[in-house]
Amino acid sequence: MRIQIKYIYLSAFIIVAYILLPVMNADYLYTIQDNNVFISGHTFMMDVVDHQGGWGSWIACYLTQFFYHPWLGSTILIALWALIYLLTLQLFNIKDKYSPLALILPLLLLFNVLDYGYWIYYAKTPGFPFLPTLILLFCLLFALLLLPLLRRTQHGKWLNELLPVELCMLAGAITLIFIFPPQQINILNNHRPSFLTTLSDKNFKHEMRMYRALDEFRYDDVIKEMEAYEKEASASRKESEADIDFPTNLMVIYKNIALMQTGRLDRMFELNNCGTIPKQNNGPEIHISQLGSALIYYQFGQMNFAFRRAMESAVKYGLSFRNLKMMARTALMNREFDMAEKYLSMLKTSTFHREWAKEHERWLMSSTDFLQSMEYQTLAPLMHDDANTLDDDHGLCDRFLLQHFAELPQANTPLLEDVALCMSLWAKNDYAFCVHFYDYAHAHPEETIPHLYQEAAILLGTAENSPIEMNDFRFDPLVSDKFNRFVSTYNTLLQQGLSEKEMGKRMWEPFGSTFWWYYYFYTDFTLY
């Protein structure tokens, strides 16, 4: 039996789509569903149908949730594209040898899904990955159903030939007017292609993986992801002698949270701590406040600010599973149990976040379970850092946290001592470090001071008018010798007339994991 060529083309398309979607971009698809929401029930349905793009958006929201398992959501989407291909062949009566033409639309739709990049955090239209597919499918089905009826009444040949096109256009108009009101498809107005971000930006992918690991309290996986980045960056440097590759600010923050929560924050400069703003092609203006600040605040025990960022994100960019879960979590941690119950009730109606909601709902029933939960145990030490104050982050969570912890009046637990010291270094707040360093030294007179703090103390202690009296402390000769080598190398390169950038590049290999390198050569601390 001879297989028709149109099915061979279809099979090839399906394979390509599978490779590009669940194989290469599973994290991307998972993140898309995490920024989407579907709540069973009349209230959510009417809310979406009445305001946000009609029934089409509601169906699209329903389907988008299947990206929780990227292969499952992809299978549904690819099946719909296959249907579009077959309907196109039938509607326009395309001969076998021209069947690749019918793949143009599915390919464009595939491109569309891969095209969002950072837009996935800013898309306001609910269910946006499935929307164009559903619109097109509706148009084709509409045309296909009406075609036989109209053909009976049409006699002119040219009219007959054009009829499918006319019907598709009519269906398109009906769709836009009644099913997807145009003012709601805002992503089409704002969207600029960022195909390369999705497919090739490694940091974009690292960020997504680190976010998920952090969200699931898998701190070791966050660190592993950062180590993987370091390996890639190091390999690419060796290959091409390229400039030093910097991770994004978000990756640095996620990494440091993981180090903090695993008691290794004093290793923060051993893994690249020099964050930068993501590079993208035509993407949206990105801000950490939308990309991850709610989770960052949460992991730093700042429940009110985490709640605020989740709420504000829901207001501006639409409700999502991510926001809803964050609002439930912060309510739980704040012991606002009725509010937590509200959000958990909603999450319990979802297909894939139900178990998460049930697990957290147990904490409502049992305070013992709550107090013994890993989440509470992890975050509680950071929740009692100070008294209440009125403040604002002005949309810059990293600046707020650095200032907040660096200027902590009382670091009264071992964890907070480390956080205060490390945040001071991260922020290059010399004065704050010196204050916390003396507090630390007085609180632990018999203990060895971690190397990172020694590095910083040696550097700052040698500065003019430094509040650190070097003779008060015993420094590890390994640290002081390395510092001497750093100074000597620095002076040598300076005398050679090298630019600061070139000096930084040369000194990266031996000193890139020290505070000194960060202090002198990392000057591009851009907040976004």
Binding site: N304, K342, L390
Partner: protein, 492 residues
């Protein structure tokens, strides 16, 4: 016939037999046990929160009884409810709740729903908004028919602008519960005050060079075409730990009077070191009540906003009253009628006088002016004849209560409450009988009893109306796009 009988049977389940008696009331949501309701309100649908597989509620009313129940919900057919109300006016309905729990039917202690002989205004309106902080996106002012479940948009901000040109809409207000004289404000994109006078729509810019801001919190004079407003310089900041989460503070505020006919603004009060706000007229229009906090800035080196943030708990509002001559438009005899700040260490906001002029409702909390975000805020009432103040325990909850208002006949109180979860504001209604006693408050009924659980927006500033707004959202939107007519300033 058989089909009709079958459908009727489905709508009215049988009363379970042999049910085990429980000695307590059932847990129902919303809590409608032992409440007094108006005879013209829509059905009080509720859910039974007993973890049951099935529930049945048997409503026994004068002259009959009807059963309802599907899964955990009790949703009553509207026409049947109207008949029940008609028969029960001035009497009560006894409700037996049955719940099938782990295969066994249980019947709970019955509760009553008392049906007052007093009706409630047919409409309320409120702003629908996420309880967010700085961001806003989709806001609308909606009107809800209390005799059924119909809700319609009066105006939506999305109809004229979105994104960076988005507009905030707020402070809808009506003269004497009617909608031919009404207003609301729009801020930022296409800013101005939408003013309807005798059914005619205008857009006014109430900001003048001589006043602090455009008009903010409004109150229509009951007989003259005058509106008292506060003018405010408002800011907000955020608690790092406190569960109130936000403070909304005025660094400065005054009172102005707007003459609608002349399109003129004049100043009522702009005293130094006083933050005057929330004006409200007495029903005869001869008195203006308002709140004012005495606050002296002490540190010249700090911006007012900064000092206010540092001393926010010191801002406490008292209640004042001034006589007003509607003919000359003169104010006189300013009097502090409730010294909440100094004598009680409390702060009074949002005063509203009953239609008979006898009582005054207000919201009170420990400090500040924005009590919707203050969990300790409760509703209090002053008897204006005796100046005696009482806390309305029947209306309050452990969470925030604010924005009280009276129905046009003075028999119903409406309050904005966060009693459900502490974050989402919902209107609650309470009967206020002729003896001056407030009865247990009940939630605004919704078709789906779980609507409030699953709806993630607040209903702010609920106001009674005796008729719907007839100007369409499209007409408002068209006018919104026009330039606002600037108001003139008139020296008093």
């Amino acid at each position: 016939m058989g089909l009709i009988a079958l459908l009727a049977a489905c709508n009215h389940p049988d009363v379970p037999t042999g049910a085990q008696q429980e000695s307590r009331l059932p847990r129902i949501y919303p809590d409608y046990t032992e409440v007094t309701i108006p005879y013209n309100i829509c059905p009080l649908n509720f859910a039974v929160q007993e973890g049951a597989e099935e529930v049945v509620a048997n409503l026994k009313y004068p002259g009959g009884e009807l059963t309802y129940g599907k899964e955990q919900k009790v949703q009553i057919e509207e026409d049947e409810w109207k008949n029940i109300m008609k028969a029960s006016k001035g009497k009560s309905i006894e409700v037996d709740v049955y719940a099938k729990i782990a295969g066994t039917w249980k019947v709970f202690k019955p509760f009553n729903i008392y049906v007052a002989e007093d009706s409630i205004d047919h409409y309320i309106s409120y702003r629908v908004i996420q309880p967010s902080y700085v961001a806003y996106e989709r806001l609308s002012i909606n009107q809800r028919n209390l005799t059924n479940f119909d809700e319609r948009e009066i105006y939506s901000n999305m109809s004229v602008s979105t994104e960076s040109t988005g507009q905030c809409i707020n402070c809808h207000s009506y003269q004497n519960y009617r909608t031919d004289n009404m207003l609301f404000h729009m801020r930022q994109g296409f800013g101005g005050t939408m003013l309807v006078t005798h059914g005619e729509l205008r857009k006014i810019d109430l900001k003048t060079n001589e006043t602090l801001s455009a008009g903010v919190y409004p109150s229509w004079h009951p007989t003259k075409n005058l509106i008292a407003f506060s003018t405010n310089k408002t800011g907000q900041s955020f608690h790092t730990k406190d569960l109130n989460k936000i403070e909304v503070q005025d660094t400065e505020s005054d009172l102005i009077l707007y003459d609608v006919e002349k399109n003129e603004v004049s100043i009522i009060s702009e005293l130094d070191d006083e933050l005057e706000v929330f004006p409200t007229w007495s029903p005869d229009g001869k008195k203006l009540y308002f709140c004012s906090a005495h606050f002296e800035y002490k540190n010249d080196s700090l911006a007012k906003e900064t000092e206010m943030i540092q001393r926010y708990t010191e801002v406490k509002y008292d209640l004042y009253c001034a006589d007003f001559n509607p003919e000359t438009k003169e104010f006189s005899n300013l009097e502090k009628i409730y010294n909440a700040a100094d004598s009680l260490g409390q702060s009074v906001t949002l005063p509203r006088v009953s239609p008979d002029g006898r009582y005054l409702l207000f919201a009170q909390a420990e400090y500040g002016c924005f009590h919707v975000w203050h969990a300790d805020a409760d509703i209090y009432m002053m008897d204006l004849a005796t100046r005696k103040v009482q806390k309305l325990d029947a209306v309050n909850s452990p969470r925030s209560e604010s924005y009280p208002s009276w129905s046009s006949n003075g028999r119903w109180i409406m309050v904005d409450s966060r009693r459900d979860d502490g974050n989402y504001t919902r209107p609650v209604l309470a009967y206020f009988d002729k003896s001056g006693k407030a009865h247990k408050a009940f939630a605004l009924p919704q078709k789906d009893p779980y609507f409030n659980t699953f709806f993630l927006r607040s209903f702010n500033r609920p106001e009674f109306m005796i008729e719907p707004v007839t100007i369409t959202p499209q007409e408002f939107a068209k006018k919104a796009k026009e330039d606002a007519v600037p108001a003139k300033y008139a020296r008093r």
